[in-house]
């Protein structure tokens, strides 16, 4: 799992590559820690390279969503693969995290 974070003006662009599973979820949580700071964050995450997520990854996405909302910001997941999207659909996460 690789996380790349780029700050462009007021927008934070994130690119995820690889798999989020039980072996690397802790590292993923550390990697996205910078996204948990700052007022009114505007975060776009390119998920086109995310091949898999387990519930360990989902809990981190939910934590991020809660953090972003508490700071009156917004979070968007883009280009999510159909199989991963299904995991978000089954768990109701598609309704609480914006996916385009």
């Amino acid at each position: 799992m690789e996380v790349t974070i780029n700050q462009e003006a007021n927008k934070t662009l994130v690119v995820l590559n690889g798999r989020i599973d039980t072996t690397n979820a802790d590292k993923f949580q550390q990697d996205i820690a910078p996204l948990l700071q700052g007022e009114k964050p505007d975060i776009e995450i390119d998920c086109s390279g995310m091949e898999y997520t387990s519930s360990q990854g989902l809990r981190i996405f939910l934590m991020l969503q809660k953090s972003v909302m508490a700071r009156q910001g917004q979070l968007v997941l883009m280009h999510i693969k159909p199989q991963v999207k299904e995991v978000f659909d089954i768990t109701g996460f598609s309704n609480i995290i914006k996916i385009i």
């Binding site: 599973d21 039980t22 072996t23 898999y52 387990s54 519930s55 360990q56 989902l58 809990r59 939910l62 934590m63 969503q65 809660k66 909302m69 199989q83 995991v87 089954i90 768990t91 109701g92 309704n95 609480i96 995290i97």
Partner: protein, 137 residues
């Protein structure tokens, strides 16, 4: 295909890869995705919680029925009795603020597999998960 892992502390990855490398696994990537996720959630649950200090064993196996269409994955451990099917399903209609963090793993497994059955027998937890692998997904 069957294998005993002892001890299981920090062995989740190895146990998952053993099951996924079974010749019983379907070639279809969509099916593999769902099966892997179900295996990961249930194996991880045993490795983390079955034994208080994580020192204990786990036997895992895969099996195809005579038709070759029904894949069954079995997980067995001698940890504390725990029926994962007793856990309440998460309320997926709640808002992000209301949703508790966690509690999704076993729910995903139940949704992704066709049948999940638990029994406690001779001091062991035995979980069997079945998936019809005849259709690409």
């Amino acid at each position: 295909m069957r294998k005993l892992f002892n001890p299981i502390k920090d062995k989740s990855g190895e146990i998952i890869e053993f099951l996924m490398s079974s010749p019983d696994m379907p070639a279809d990537e969509g099916l593999q995705f769902k099966i892997r996720l179900s295996i990961e959630e249930t194996v991880e649950n045993v490795v983390r919680y079955a034994y208080e200090d994580s020192v204990g064993w786990m036997e895992v196996g895969t099996e195809l029925d005579v038709s070759g269409l029904l894949l069954t994955i079995t997980l067995k451990d001698a940890g504390k009795p725990f029926n994962p099917l007793d856990s309440p399903d998460p309320d997926i209609t709640l808002s992000a603020e209301e949703r508790p963090i966690g509690g999704l793993g076993l729910f995903l497994c139940k949704q992704l597999m066709d049948e999940v059955v638990y029994r406690y027998e001779d001091g062991c937890n035995i979980l069997t998960m079945t998936k019809n692998i005849s259709q690409a997904q």
